[in-house]
Amino acid sequence: MLALSLYVLIWPVIVAVVAVVICKGFMSEVREAKRRGEDLI
């Protein structure tokens, strides 16, 4: 039961980590664009 529970619940944890990584990347791009006075995209 424990193994199956971990098997199901590990994916939302990985998803949350990826969301944080993408957000951090995005925020640093926003700051960099502001610093350079350029459009984000």
């Binding site: 039961m1 424990l2 199956l4 529970s5 098997y7 199901v8 619940l9 994916w11 939302p12 944890v13 990985i14 998803v15 949350a16 990826v18 969301a19 990584v21 993408i22 957000c23 951090k24 990347g25 995005f26 925020m27 640093s28 791009e29 960099e32 459009d39 984000l40 995209i41």
Partner: protein, 566 residues
């Protein structure tokens, strides 16, 4: 017996849609320019950063169908089902990144793969790839509109057609003006909403439905194969055909190629790796709802497996999380739909108008932008019309998948091998389709010598798929070793066996026939193509110079620009 499901009032759904599409539209207006650049409209200047590109790649690769299909796989094949959908799909993003790096090196400023094929080979190869892209994107667009219509009709008083129109109008609203730039920026918002929703909703349903105790009480609902993590049934029916199919989708799909050309070249690797993990975790995570449903003995309405996710959500989530779920699905289908619109507009702008009607140097950026926007409107109208007919899209998707499968080797070889000719490209793709179609649709009896020949081609296809994957990372020699080794090892198990799995056999046959013919027609060719030509000829259209055509001039050779004449 399913628990009682809940839904939304008309007002709540309208508010959620206004919130979602109004928000994305507002963001798109923040980057809108009165005079958009035609190249920016297609690839955003080829210098997008990591955060946006990783988000966009993830969002584009996840469509509503991938979540529904992963849950269906979990419900049908048991605990390994979501892995056999999500893991292979995710790994394909990873496997194409080495090819992506090569493609960007050869064509740093291109907009579409078909545009590169035009320079590399000529019109027939280009139009073959562009045509498959158009069909694939229209089908994808229609599929996402259908998913939106079904979701809205299931969770609200609105009917299917009203749902389709709401989704189509919303996507068109925020994509029309700024094209690809709007698509990738809104992808960031959408993917964060999707990832956040999965991180909350899956654990919530897990505990609300009585797990982990339900793993014991519901164990009798699973067959021996469904309980087995190494289920051969799951691998042969779901995993293996999908491995063959998604490599083709990753190479043939313009939405992926477009992001490949848009991301900053040094960020291709981290972007693809992040998208691999993000896609895999999200799709497998949502697929686990199918596994939970199986343990619970949950029966989707009408036996339609596409109802598993919405009905599980409606059964176990409170109103606020159901709203989050609604946004997650709308986000998934919208992010793919806006990518399809951008892909279609790029193909019409660069491949049809830019290279076949006006010619590279005569192409007017303003006309290109107008064509891009008109394409988006026309494609949306077409997809809405097709969606409202509620067609069965499975056969069309299979056909496009096979077309892309037939294209994989000729396209990839064209980026590495100087000898590949236009004739070899074209003939090999047509021949592969000519063999694929009768196999896939059971038009020939899979018995006797015919079956053995098809199995032989399919076994070769196994080696070719694995060899191509290895080639991207390790080069030719390891690819040959792996490809030949895999063929030899698989052969004894495949003869007399693969004939019962025509979906898998047909996909593999598409790979092998196109590869064999393309190779045989090319290896003696005297062509010695100079790859540096591609970077020169597949570049920006909108350089700020006014195109001027000389009288009676051939469009591609004797046209010059104002700047050049001065």
């Amino acid at each position: 017996m399913n628990p009682e499901t809940v839904g939304f009032s008309a007002l709540t759904v309208v508010l959620l849609l206004v919130l979602f599409y109004g928000g994305t539209f507002y963001v798109s207006t923040r980057i809108g320019k009165k005079n958009e650049n035609a190249d920016g409209y297609m690839t955003a200047g080829n210098k997008i950063g990591f955060g946006i590109s990783a988000a966009s790649m993830t969002a584009t690769w996840i469509w509503a169908s991938s979540m529904y299909a992963s849950a269906s796989s979990g419900y049908t094949y048991g605990i390994s089902g979501p892995i056999h959908y999500g893991l292979w799909g995710a790994l394909m993003i990873l496997f194409i990144y080495p090819f992506g790096k090569r493609i960007r090196k050869v064509a740093p400023k291109a907009h579409t793969l078909a545009e590169v094929m035009y320079v590399r080979h000529g019109r027939s190869s280009q139009l073959m790839l562009a045509g498959s892209n158009v069909v694939g994107s229209v089908i994808s667009l229609m599929s996402n509109f259908i998913a939106g219509g079904v979701l809205i009709s299931m969770l609200s008083p609105f009917n299917f057609i009203q749902g389709v129109f709401a989704v189509a109008g919303g996507v068109l609203l925020y994509t029309l003006w700024s094209g690809f730039r709007a698509s990738v920026l809104t992808d960031f918002m959408q993917v964060i909403a999707m990832l956040g929703a999965v991180a909350i909703i899956v654990p919530f349903i897990f505990f609300a439905a009585g797990f982990p105790a339900a793993f014991e009480t519901g164990a009798s609902n699973l067959t021996a194969q469904q309980s087995n993590f190494f289920s051969s049934e799951a691998f042969l029916n779901q995993g293996a055909p999908y491995i063959a199919a998604v490599l083709a989708y990753a190479i043939g799909n313009q939405t992926i190629a477009q992001r490949l050309f848009a991301v900053r070249e040094d960020l291709i690797k981290p972007t693809f790796i992040t998208a691999t993990i993000g896609y895999g975790a999200m799709v497998i995570g949502v697929g686990m709802l199918g596994v939970l449903a199986l343990y619970l003995g949950f029966e989707p309405t009408g036996g339609d497996l596409n109802n598993i996710i919405p009905e599980m959500a409606a059964s176990y989530l409170p109103g606020i999380l159901l709203a989050l779920f609604f946004i997650m699905i709308i986000g998934a289908l919208s992010s793919t739909a806006d990518s399809d619109l951008s892909a279609l507009s790029s193909i019409m702008m660069a491949d049809i108008y830019g290279q076949n009607i006006a010619g590279k140097k005569k192409a007017n950026p303003k006309t290109m932008l107008l064509i891009g926007r008109l394409t988006m409107v026309a494609a949306t109208a077409l997809a809405v019309a097709l969606a409202s007919m509620q067609m069965n899209i499975l056969d069309l998707l299979v056909f496009v998948g096979a077309l892309w499968g037939a294209l994989v080797f000729p396209v990839l070889a064209s980026f590495y091998w100087k000898k590949v000719t236009n004739k070899a490209f074209t003939v090999s793709v047509i021949a592969a389709l000519a063999v694929f179609i009768p196999v896939r649709f059971d038009m020939i009896p899979m018995t006797g010598v015919t079956a053995v020949l098809i199995e032989l081609l399919a076994v070769l296809g196994i080696g070719i798929v694995l060899g191509l994957m290895a080639f991207g990372f390790f080069g030719l020699r390891p690819a040959l070793v792996l490809g030949i080794g895999a063929t030899v090892v698989a052969a004894p198990f495949c003869f007399g066996f693969l004939r019962d799995y025509t979906t898998l056999s047909a996909s593999l046959v598409a790979y092998s026939v196109s590869t064999i013919i393309c190779y045989l027609m090319s290896f003696k060719s005297t062509q010695n193509f100079d790859f540096s030509v591609i970077a020169e000829r597949a570049g920006d259209f909108d350089t700020g110079e006014q195109p001027v055509a000389l009288p009676s001039a051939d469009s591609r050779n004797t046209t010059t620009t104002v700047q050049e004449r001065e």
